[in-house]
Symmetry: D2
Subunit: 406 residues, 4 copies
């Protein structure tokens, strides 16, 4: 075990990370710096201060990172229409690199030689935290208590609390859920409990951010989203900050039963895992972003983005936000977004979001050419013959030489 | 103009292709063979016989291709979770190669030296028909009247009918719609008319195959789909033929308001075009196929499929079904589907379809390992440390040598 | 035939383009502006002036584009290690977009409404010229005489010359070759003649830029190339301009028999074609660029570049330099090259070029870690166990559930 | 430490693996089964029997795997024109999955519960052995002594030998080299020693399989290679078995100084490493395979193969031969090779190999169309206009709407 003097802990104020504070102090005889961030998880972060103080922590960081989170992480990711495995909007994955970055910044400010987090050894989050930390500060040490200690069961954890006089009501409200949950401005996730059987339907009472489509309003809600350089900047003409905008989309989506997802996904560490997610605002945003791109992006650029996207999604899911390959891809994606400006009109209704209109000063939609009516020579239909003939030439040569396709 | 003796025409029985029969006879002085196929467009095909006879056609082909269509074209495509430009399920595109193949087969049977079709010079369908035809019979000649004649306006067409005594009630019912429509067992499409303004919302009365989500039943419908080697074979345990199954899914989806899509897409011939689609059964099938794959496919296989999919979709959209590169990709896709067996439980409700359960004898989901509870050593959390450290090594070396990511 | 008032012609001063001048004047009754560029083809361009004047041309452009060519086209392409179909260094393809750009600039300056070129209707060059022209000036008209006129045979061309008093010694020296040749600073190409039989070996006397490996010096030549941001800037420590540097590499390579290539390639218009190429400097540059990247690029960045490269090569080969998708890819490539600085030592010998040393202040090669000797803890071999175990986890689960790989 | 009863060791007969035999016996108190394979490394394998017996081994496997190696591993890999990082022909990587498979087969036959190998914890080979083993027998245990023991230095190893009476002349000849070497029918590799400085040129005396180009014959050698379904089957018309053929190509290549390579590569475990390789036969084979593909493969199939290749190479380099994703890719590759039949004529000369002729009954090269001479209407040059115009349409629309590319 290396000598550690000071460690920065990603501290939620909940029971688990409170136990970790004490365990780090005891096990490593080191000072613990706590870092608690508001990234829109929907819980007060300020109470973490008193809890940390009660545990003898002297350096306490409590940050509101909501705007940075949406502006520098969520929006850049949505520029790529990012989806992991065809379904998942990466709501957990994209929050981790920000936490990793902040842990390292605080380590630099406080002279800490290690960071620590409460993620388990089975999940993706440990990877995301630690890859980010190593990439930003290669000499940093990482302490992952769940991989080290013997407090794996709830009983041993409770015993530890009793022995160390850690108040069990440190436990936040959400821990009483049968599910392992995680939330930030982009989504809330559910794992574990009855979800561990992939055949079992999730209970209605599990979902927290959206109403059931069944009880959503009987009238559709229409909104207009304005985009600039690929990022949304206004709802119904009202400009707002990134975090405010995403929060508003979450409310609109949640109220209309939008954004629920129930999948089995493949973790980077090698196992399949069942997860349920609510991403109301993100679901709307993805639909809208594709719609504004549909009239502003060149065809081949759009197709190249579609081909690169699964790789980009995998990078983020696996924890490689802080990597040169992600930055290389981002350069291509961002280059494509300069022209992604305009408005999308959306219909939200009982679990569905549809794009029903799109317009842009940068539109490449050419009504003169696209029309089914007379086009006054805008398009010469005779061109199609040569186009087809030369595209067919290699196929005709092959068939002429006896190649069979049937 | 080459000498043509006999031409096989893709004949719908409608006004436009009836005019084409006469125009071909007159312009090329050739015999016309008509070919009318039932691919599930929802209209009687037998009436085309009398119409063709009235036009003096001697060789008339009327085929029911519904099973072949779904079995050999639709299902293979769905094995790849195929979507064009993130949205479009390729309902028109996938029907064309079957028509092309049948045109060539009939040309071979009847000794025709040319084929003809009623697709315009602005669209994708001409490309799909003709690429397929050239690939299957390289010496075939192609007559595309819309690129040649001067009957581009409705008036000149009507005048031509009057002059040539073509009864205008040849016009099928659907032609009275303000939209250009096309239908087959996979979908119905709408283009033109008021849709030519991409900002204008489609009218509710346009949609034909699905009820509005607003008027869909207030109770969800649950179904179970069974898959074998990537293809659906049964609904709620009842085995049925491919066409029967897709038809049933269409009804279930349509009744629940599922499968409407409103997009601007990029045509192969170079312009953007607004299209609305109803694909009720296909929308359900895509969701279900992804769900059964989620528990049966290896992670890296799934990811490779996701990376290849946009290319495969583009091939089909652009008309290259009959090509060696499509067959090469299909070999990889089909290889992956041998293990895609099992059941998916789906919830259909007011426009949405969700996978709520999935199970399979070929499942790779390992509850012992995935569990948040004690796993009795199935997974050694300590392995994660080395995994992360070596994955981070290149990033740490780079950072240690001064590379900056921020 | 549209009304054309003035046309800018890519004019070599040779017989074919001289005939085109007269043919354009006669056929379109328009003024012809000639444009002749030095892009390193190794022939004087100034003589074209008198020839154009003799043909009555009033606006004559003669430009030395060598530096722009290498700096803005050749070097950016080499940043991607670009090779078409595993072999071809794109020496013809990359020169075309520069010509297209200059034609359009001159059209803008002279108020011309059309451009023209001497490329045939079978080749790739017509596509490259015209796609570039349309992309840069969408309303431009294009006249491609070889697709229009009836002077396809040598005899009819000669008759035309006789009738129009075009001196046949306009014919440049290179036209006496049995081969169709093209040259610029990056390469010289040979097509046609006896090469049309792909089984026939190219004659030794065909090659012009390189000695045969058999007669190359018996002693190797060593050089050191310095790179900055992915571009070569110095040979043996001597900084030189892009064109000067490439010229020098051509001499060094040619003298050592380096850079000959004999392939069958796939043209964009659909046929296979046999081509022989000499690219002495480019062959050296590619080897050197890969070598400097091998120590400065991150692994995943390098791999992503390798995966994107064939697509980038295809874009350039097919004529899409002036396209948003090329610019999108270029953004990613250029982003990767900021760290590609350093020196490569190369051995040139009898047709081969080898990288024998590479060093850089930006090197990521870590001798402490890479060593086979004791590494004093720089690398903990025990980490490999967890790395392997988790990478194997999905495979073990699958095998445990009965999946077979054999 | 788990209880191990019997372990199968990949045993070379050299000093290191002899020490491992004893160390396994002592450390685990288990029985050791040795497995020694002839994969063309150029050393007798039979002497390993006596050495193993001397160490008390009772179950000794000595196999000649040369034909299986070339037929089932090397040739399938060459069907994809596989190169890692633009240079490396994967000579070490492709031998490992065969060893892994055989270790598992022997474990099954002998009832062993573990396998062991002599690869270090820093390299790729440990990964390749172990991933293969886990994929083929998920419950197998793996002992990697170099990651466990404290015999990391030469002295401690020698002391161990002395203490345990292991004759040091067990050391094979090649171990006296300053380089870490590895050989099989495809190549010989060199690492370590003075190569650890990537700026230092490899010494001439290091190379073992090829003469220096300087001393290669002054006359070129011409050979003709015959391919069937993508695999070479005959040299100069003489059919031979896979291993015989590769051996002969090695001799031909080596005698002409062909196949030397000096690179810095990126290991899967995260570090860069300098390696030198001699792959004489493989270098010839790659060139020849590309040449026969150039006339027999469809363009789009060839391009798709080129785009997939880097990924396939990475799979093999990283040790995922025994994986479903490799099998999926192989299905696509093999599908493409059915038509790759014919002959390639090659010139071998002083370090270079050139394809100088290629012919095939399956050739898609169409001289009638490709010719620069009159083609009698085989190709209609006018088709090119429509081809270009529609390919340019999206670019023209964009430019017409003000998009800038400059």
């Amino acid at each position: 075990m290396s000598k550690i003097d000071k460690v920065v802990l990603a501290y939620s104020g909940g029971l688990d990370t409170s136990v970790i504070v004490r365990w780090l102090q005891e096990t490593y005889g080191c000072e613990v710096v706590t870092f608690t961030a508001d990234i829109g998880q929907g819980e007060e972060v300020e109470p973490a201060r008193a809890k940390a103080e009660a545990l003898g922590v002297k350096e306490i960081y409590i940050d509101d990172l909501r705007e940075e989170y949406v502006r520098d992480f969520v929006f850049p990711m949505f520029r790529a229409n990012t989806i992991y495995e065809g379904e998942y909007l990466l709501g957990t994955s994209i929050a981790r690199p920000l936490i990793a970055k902040r842990l390292i910044e605080i380590a630099n400010e406080t002279g800490a030689d290690a960071i620590s987090h409460g993620a388990t050894g089975k999940g993706n989050d440990q990877v995301r935290f630690e890859l980010g930390a190593y990439a930003l500060k290669p000499g940093i040490q990482v302490i992952a208590p769940w991989r080290e200690w013997d407090l794996g069961s709830r009983e041993s954890l409770m015993n530890y609390c009793a022995q160390h006089k850690i108040p069990v009501d440190f436990s936040s409200g959400k821990k009483k859920s049968p599910y392992s949950m995680d939330a930030n401005l982009l989504h809330i996730s559910y794992e574990g409990g009855s979800l561990e059987d992939p055949w079992a339907e999730a209970e209605e009472e599990m979902w927290r951010w959206s109403v059931s489509p069944e009880v959503a309003p009987d009238q559709p809600t229409y909104i207009t989203l304005t985009f600039e350089k690929g990022d949304p900047v206004a709802i119904d003409g009202e400009r707002m900050s990134p975090a405010t905008l995403l929060e508003k989309l979450n409310k609109l989506g949640g109220a209309n039963g939008i954004g629920r997802l129930d999948i089995v996904e493949n973790r980077y560490v090698g196992m399949k895992s069942r997860g349920c997610y609510e991403t109301p605002g993100g679901t709307i945003l993805l639909k809208a972003h594709r719609a504004i791109e549909s009239i502003t992006l060149d065809r081949e650029v759009a197709h190249m983005k579609d081909e690169l996207m699964p790789r980009y999604a995998k990078l983020i899911y696996n924890g490689y936000w802080w990597s040169p390959e992600r930055e290389m891809l981002q350069a291509a994606i961002d280059e494509s977004q300069q022209v992604v400006n305009g408005e999308v009109r959306l219909k939200l209704y009982k679990g569905s979001v549809s794009a029903v209109g799109r317009r842009s000063a940068d539109s490449l939609f050419d009504e003169r050419i696209a029309t089914f009516e007379e086009d006054a020579g805008a398009y010469d239909q005779k061109d199609a013959e040569g186009f087809i003939k030369l595209n067919a030439l290699r196929l005709r040569i092959a068939a002429g030489k006896g190649r069979k396709l049937l």
